[in-house]
């Protein structure tokens, strides 16, 4: 299944979930609607496409645009040595997207990190808690609105 018709194949398989596809600098990119994320992902994971590995999952905070957060997933298929980037844009301040914990096991920690850093809520995640920061920390540091050097010390510091 060559590179071009791979994309057509996927688009035929998921006509309404996929908004658009692109090819930037040799990487295939799919933009998927928020509701259609889980069916697309489980479809891509097994059978014809077998993207068996969730390489990476991260989020980008576009403060200016109206759908502020954009989730970026990188999938990798071992058999075909191909990488695929999937983007999902989440509207509004409190971004919500459904979780992929059922499909890949590393999604658990990756989503906890995105929740900790951006405050994106994942529906269906078993225990969505902070992973990098500590309990008493208010706010989500990687958001563009969080000031770069605002420290929240955990114990009283002598200055």
């Amino acid at each position: 299944m060559e590179k071009e018709n791979l994309i057509e194949e996927i688009r035929k398989r998921f006509p309404d979930e996929i908004e658009s596809d692109a090819e930037t600098r040799g990487d295939q990119v799919l933009v998927v609607r928020r509701e259609g994320l889980r069916p697309v992902m489980s479809g891509l994971k097994d059978a014809p496409f077998d993207y068996a590995v969730l390489l990476d999952l991260t989020c980008v905070d576009f403060l200016a645009s109206e759908n502020r957060f954009e989730m970026v997933y990188h999938l990798y298929s071992m058999s075909r040595n191909r990488r695929l980037r999937i983007k999902v844009s989440l509207p509004g301040e409190t971004a919500v997207v459904d979780s992929l914990v059922g499909l890949w096991k590393n999604a658990d920690w990756l989503e906890r990190e995105v929740f900790d850093m951006f405050g994106v809520a994942f529906i269906g995640h078993p225990d969505l808690r902070r992973i990098l920061m500590y309990e008493g920390f208010e706010g989500h540091p990687l958001r563009k609105s969080y000031p770069w050097r605002k420290e929240q010390p955990r114990i009283t510091l002598k200055d």
């Binding site: 500590y134 770069w148 929240q152 010390p153 955990r154 510091l157």
Partner: protein, 158 residues
């Protein structure tokens, strides 16, 4: 200086000499400086030549707290606990720019220098400091131990 004072200063120097050359250090290692600590502690640059080779992994048996690497705000209470659990007399070395002053990480996550948490005796700059700088820092601490008035039980608090 009466006879008794002469005796105590001689005794002070003896105790200082003994403490200087038998430093058991607690390696509180967190980040990249740990790699340079390994080189300093191992055969090539060997801190054991100065009596500080034995690493004790429990603060109850350590004299010297070697804070190596970045201390983040999440780790600050752990560092505070380790320092308080150490027995007197105790000394602290800040190893590397991050421990000295937060180094290149001036942001929401890193503590800007461990002297905001615990009193520090010797600062070793460098990111990471070369093993020779580590040995030099150790010698400076030993000099400090030798010259400072030793604290022991029956000493009259002057």
């Amino acid at each position: 200086m009466s006879g008794f004072d002469f005796l105590t200063t001689r005794f002070d120097m003896a105790v200082g000499w003994a403490r200087k050359f038998s430093l058991f250090h607690y390696p509180f290692i967190t980040a990249c400086c740990g790699m340079e600590y390994m080189s300093a502690a191992c055969a090539h640059f060997d801190i054991d030549r100065f009596g500080a080779g034995l690493t004790r992994f429990s603060p109850r048996q350590a004299d010297l707290l070697l804070v190596v690497g970045t201390v983040s705000h999440k780790l600050a209470p752990a560092l505070r606990t380790v320092y308080e659990q150490m027995m007197e007399p105790k000394w602290v070395i800040a190893f590397g720019a991050c421990a000295v002053s937060g180094g290149i990480y001036q942001n929401y996550a890193a503590v800007q220098g461990i002297d905001k948490i615990i009193p520090v005796d010797v600062y070793i700059p460098g990111c990471p400091p070369r093993p020779e700088m580590v040995l030099d820092g150790l010698l400076k601490l030993q000099e400090k131990i030798q010259n400072q008035g030793q604290d022991w039980r029956w000493k009259k608090k002057t």
